[in-house]
Symmetry: C2
Subunit: 304 residues, 2 copies
């Protein structure tokens, strides 16, 4: 197996690109995929201050590494979820990466600052843990970006993540969610711009990027996610991808190109409905936003 | 296993309805599913003359049987595709059903009337056989409906068929095809109204309906369809359905309710583009329609 760009011995092949790469050309290829995602969706510029959400896993660390290599000004933010050993370990990976590369990492610890941990929140809301976790992440990462004066919040959602979310939204025809599933969400009152620069990279590729670039990351998946629907959708898409390489990327990228423009009207209607949370001032379609409602349920403030 | 409506011993269970049925109640249930599809999509009325496309398989014969039971005036049309023994056998099933129930069956034989068979057409066009077959069926069934003065052309596409077509269109985000994937296509210049009354019945249910009602049908699938993408999509959907009963019906029926309205604008743009075939007068976006182009290629008229 030869490297397509340079002819050296390849270390990885990517069936959907019908190409194999040596270590050096693979890193260049990954940089190029991220550069292309950023430029074709006008995600951000080199003069902007970027905050990247860091979990300690392969995607977020690869993203931080690549954005720095592409010359962006990027700090990181780590969110402590209070998921026992998993959270302690993942924080270590995030901090060691920041230190090794001389980068700034902010830490927001939910148990310390908000008085609850994700497992408790999941029990209290009687919903799947990923639900309480996702809404807490969206809220607190956005707040960290705004409070730190960053122009952009970048997350490590990769092609597999986005395709699986899209698959779930399509199976149920969640039209409102479909209309909002964009690689760039423009800044609006109370929301920093949010971007997903890894949408052209699969998770096998972010893992390989880390290995090749000696980035030490937490390999374990979150113990609370086991068996969730998102992982089942990923399996189904992987089975299809194995039979027809490229089907997953086509499904997601053609959605962006061909379907999202049709959904522009729906997205605007949804935006028009947003007001402000009476507790924290964050954008919300209800009087009290989902995060404040969660906090009230799980760790009520005795003073109120 | 007890019949949900009457408590007798059940002969079939339908996980997505969380119900099992005895033979009698199952037939009533099927009639009700078809009645509901017809009424909620305003497919047709009892004073209209309906032509149903009959292949000799379970879906089309079940549909004919149910439409007659629901009091519609329905004749059948059988299209001879020239696929060797398969076509001869399927025609026999169609004719025997019509005779046994005192119904009128028109026969259009492509080899006799148009000078080619589907296998030749597939070879000549170098595309998958289902492509030449599908376009011939659409063209000739529509012509049969118009020439016979029928108001409506009904086809036996069931829930599994429609869900698989939708799945394929979604994987590639074929927005134009999505906008046209409707259970009713209104009559326009050169097109009879087309309806799909079986969209609420899975293929396991049409088969069971035939067995219970002693309708003899051709069990074999078309030999030319083996291994096509449509069958692969059905398998994928069946695997998902097994894990989460109801996911397939939700995928298709929620598409009709929630997504199609968003696509109304796209469908109108597409309709505006249609002209007329210079050879046969059928609606066509090209100067010569796809069917006349096919005929010209496979069985050119020496006089022209």
């Amino acid at each position: 197996m030869k490297c397509k760009p340079c002819g050296a011995t390849a270390v990885i092949d990517i069936p959907r690109h019908r190409a194999a790469f040596c270590a050096g050309c693979f890193s260049t290829h990954c940089h190029e995929q991220v550069r292309r995602a950023i430029s074709s969706h006008r995600m951000m510029g080199h003069s902007e201050r970027i905050l990247v959400a860091i979990s300690g896993g392969k995607d977020s660390l690869a993203l931080w590494h690549i954005l720095v290599a592409l010359g962006y000004q990027v700090d990181g933010v780590y969110l402590g979820l209070g998921i026992g050993d998993y959270s302690d370990t993942s924080r270590g990976y995030a901090e060691r990466f920041a230190q090794a590369h001389g980068l700034t990492l902010h830490v927001v610890d939910i148990p310390t600052e908000h008085g609850f941990a994700i497992p408790e929140a999941a029990r209290a809301t009687k919903r799947v843990p990923c639900s309480a976790c996702g809404l807490s992440k969206r809220h607190l990462l956005n707040r960290a970006a705004l409070d730190g004066g960053y122009d952009v919040l970048a997350t490590g959602h990769n092609l597999d993540d986005e395709a699986a979310v899209l698959f779930g939204n399509v199976l149920q025809w969640q039209v409102g969610y479909l209309a909002r599933q964009r690689p760039v969400l423009a800044a609006t009152d109370g929301f920093a711009r949010r971007v997903k620069p890894l949408i052209r990279m699969g998770e096998r590729e972010t893992a390989a990027y880390c290995v090749i670039n000696r980035i030490d990351y937490l390999v374990d998946e979150c113990p609370m996610a086991a068996g969730n629907k998102h992982l089942r959708y990923k399996e189904t898409l992987n089975e299809m991808e194995e039979r027809s390489p490229g089907v997953k990327a086509a499904f997601y990228l053609k959605f962006l190109d061909d379907m999202l423009p049709v959904l522009d009207g729906v997205a605007e209607e949804e935006r028009a409905l947003v007001g402000v949370c009476s507790r924290c001032g964050a954008p919300s379609s209800a009087t009290v936003c989902a995060f404040c409602t969660l906090v009230e349920r799980v760790a009520p403030d005795p003073a109120r």
